[in-house]
Subunit: 109 residues, 2 copies
DNA sequence: TTTTTACATAAGTATATACTTATATAATGA
DNA sequence: TCATTATATAAGTATATACTTATGTAAAAA
């Protein structure tokens, strides 16, 4: 049933840490250590949330050198739904700017 | 933090039974026994979901004779967010029509 | 080659959640 | 008045969830 799939998607987004992760990835791709720095949570906690998001297909990962970069999967069935939720949330640019200013943003070709 | 409030709202909607209840109430006000009939679940289960929705302010209740009618609270802070989620879901008119046809729709002034 | 950094994962734990069954209440109807 | 109907709620239970700590792995750096 369609409602069940949507309910599962909302449950996935219905956690403040995951909602923040997705909001940040909506600004720019990030590696795990950047998310750990922004969200001030343990690395395993962040990794476990990322795994849930990845298992659901909402995010993709790309290995680059020692880092794993996560990004939103724009091909996801519910990407439009997720974007309409974001339209009701403030953007998260400040977190990215703060990383840049602190000089700890990971840039990788 | 705003993200936390939105996450809590999404968690509330992130249950297929509650999402269905809200979708149905988006069509028309209903009393508990109609929701029990539509959703084919036990009355206490439905009542408990309704309580969660009411505690959060998403629905309102009105007593009429022996029935308690529930309706969406259009004044809710996140009503617009909820509506944008509905725009990604099929409508639930068929359930209401079925009740009418079966002659078990509760009409009350 | 050894250490460090970045990340994943396993195991354990505390809490939350969604039901069930049983029971209480209040309005209606016989 | 007594039975029925509509609803709420309490208590119990099974499962899910979100962390923690500990540990493993792979790449980079020293």
């Amino acid at each position: 049933m369609y409602h069940e799939e949507v309910a599962n998607m909302l449950k996935l987004l219905g956690d403040k840490t995951r909602l923040m992760i997705i909001s940040i990835l909506n600004e720019t791709d990030c590696c795990v250590c950047e998310l750990v720095d922004i969200l001030q949570m343990s690395q395993p906690a962040i990794s476990q949330h990322l795994r849930k998001l990845k298992d659901n297909g909402l995010v993709k990962e790309t290995k680059k050198a020692q880092w794993v970069f996560y990004s939103l999967n724009k091909q996801h069935e519910f990407y439009a739904l997720v974007q309409s939720i974001f339209s009701h949330l403030p953007d998260q640019k400040e977190h990215i700017h703060r990383l840049e200013e602190k000089g700890i943003r990971i840039h990788c070709k």
